[in-house]
């Protein structure tokens, strides 16, 4: 079954101006059927304006065992956050 209908990851963009967000996965025979299944499964309540489907096997994920070495070194580098500036009022909303 999973040979004929491999797994796909579904990304939905809820509105113009926002980016596609991962919302789940599904089984389908090919990309056309995957898009239709995504439409019927994940946009039933007006959730989206655009859908991407990606073969799950094309996604390479970071190793959970490497979480510490990947992400801990950034925790103490507060100077990377742009919080040391006074934003002039004229700039308005950023």
């Amino acid at each position: 079954m999973s040979k004929e209908t491999p797994l796909w990851e579904v990304f939905v963009r809820p509105r113009n101006g926002l980016s596609h967000k991962h919302c789940g996965s599904l089984h389908a025979a090919d990309e056309v059927m995957a898009l239709q299944a995504a439409r019927d499964t994940y946009t039933r309540r007006g959730e989206g304006l655009s859908i991407w489907v990606v073969p799950s096997k094309s996604i390479f994920a970071s190793d959970p065992d490497q979480t510490a070495e990947n992400f801990d070194p950034s925790v103490d580098k507060v100077y990377r956050h742009p919080t040391f500036y006074d934003i002039p009022d004229e700039v308005g909303h950023m």
Binding site: H27, A37, D40
Partner: protein, 250 residues
């Protein structure tokens, strides 16, 4: 005129209700979870259209009947749906082909109805035309994959084509009521949609490697209430709740 429009609306409403009910029979039985969501989606599109059509038919009739009374409280001979939509689901090939045949007719029908002289019809058409375009795509992709699939799927798909195609003619057939409405510009001329239907189907059949048979003896009768045996069983299930608990709502 209002009697003709009422009857023509029943033809239209019954087509959508009965097909919607047939598709809904797949709920919980589809071969994939994803398809188990897609089938009721399509069923609800059809049933939703029938609700709008029945509500308007009730207004046109002016006897105080609402959508529920028209949908659930008539006898089998009073239903005017074409025979195509009441055919049993059989396998996935039959089901998807039936859906495709119907949507390939209704999409240009609602397109034409967008310029109806009747405002309510234009409103119903505006919503339905998008739904039918999707049904063509969804059912069409399945027909292509089953037709150009394995030996077994190709055999079943062609068998479905042989069995269902004689029922297509009734979609184009004009009753006296439909003619009266078409002459007033209220509802589209069904006869005029043949070319568009054939174009949609031949595009899909070319990819599906299917042959459309020539039909010598079309199956007609639904519009005049002459339904197949299966219709009685369908109505028994469809009408059960309203018959057992008259006037019930939730």
């Amino acid at each position: 005129m209002s009697q003709a429009l009422f009857n023509a609306l029943l033809e239209l409403g019954d087509d959508h209700l009965i097909l919607g009910h047939r598709v809904s029979e797949w709920c919980g039985h589809a071969p994939l979870l994803e398809e188990d969501l897609a089938m009721p989606n399509m069923a609800l599109d059809n049933i939703g259209a029938s609700r709008n059509i029945y509500t308007y038919a009730g207004e046109v009739e002016g006897k105080g009947r609402d959508e529920d009374q028209l949908a659930y409280l008539r006898l089998d001979r009073e239903y005017k749906n074409c025979l195509l939509v009441e055919r049993p689901n059989e396998d996935f090939a039959h089901t998807m082909l039936k859906q495709l045949y119907f949507a390939a007719f209704m999409e240009p029908y609602w397109q034409a109805a967008l310029s109806s002289t009747d405002e309510t019809i234009r409103g119903i058409a505006g919503k339905a035309v998008k739904e039918m375009a999707y049904h063509i795509r969804h059912a069409g992709e399945w027909v292509i994959r089953l037709g150009d699939g394995t030996d077994e799927s190709a055999k079943r798909m062609q068998a479905a084509v042989e069995e269902m195609t004689p029922y297509v003619e009734e979609l184009f057939t004009m009753s006296a009521d439909a003619k009266a409405c078409a002459e007033k510009g209220i509802l589209p001329d069904r006869e005029a949609l043949r070319a568009q239907w054939s174009q949609t189907i031949s595009n899909i059949f070319d990819q599906a490697l299917l042959d459309l048979p020539e039909v010598k003896f079309p199956q007609l009768g639904g519009r005049t209430g002459h339904h197949g045996e299966e219709m009685g069983f369908l109505l028994a299930q469809l009408q059960y709740v309203q018959r057992a608990y008259p006037g019930m709502s939730w």
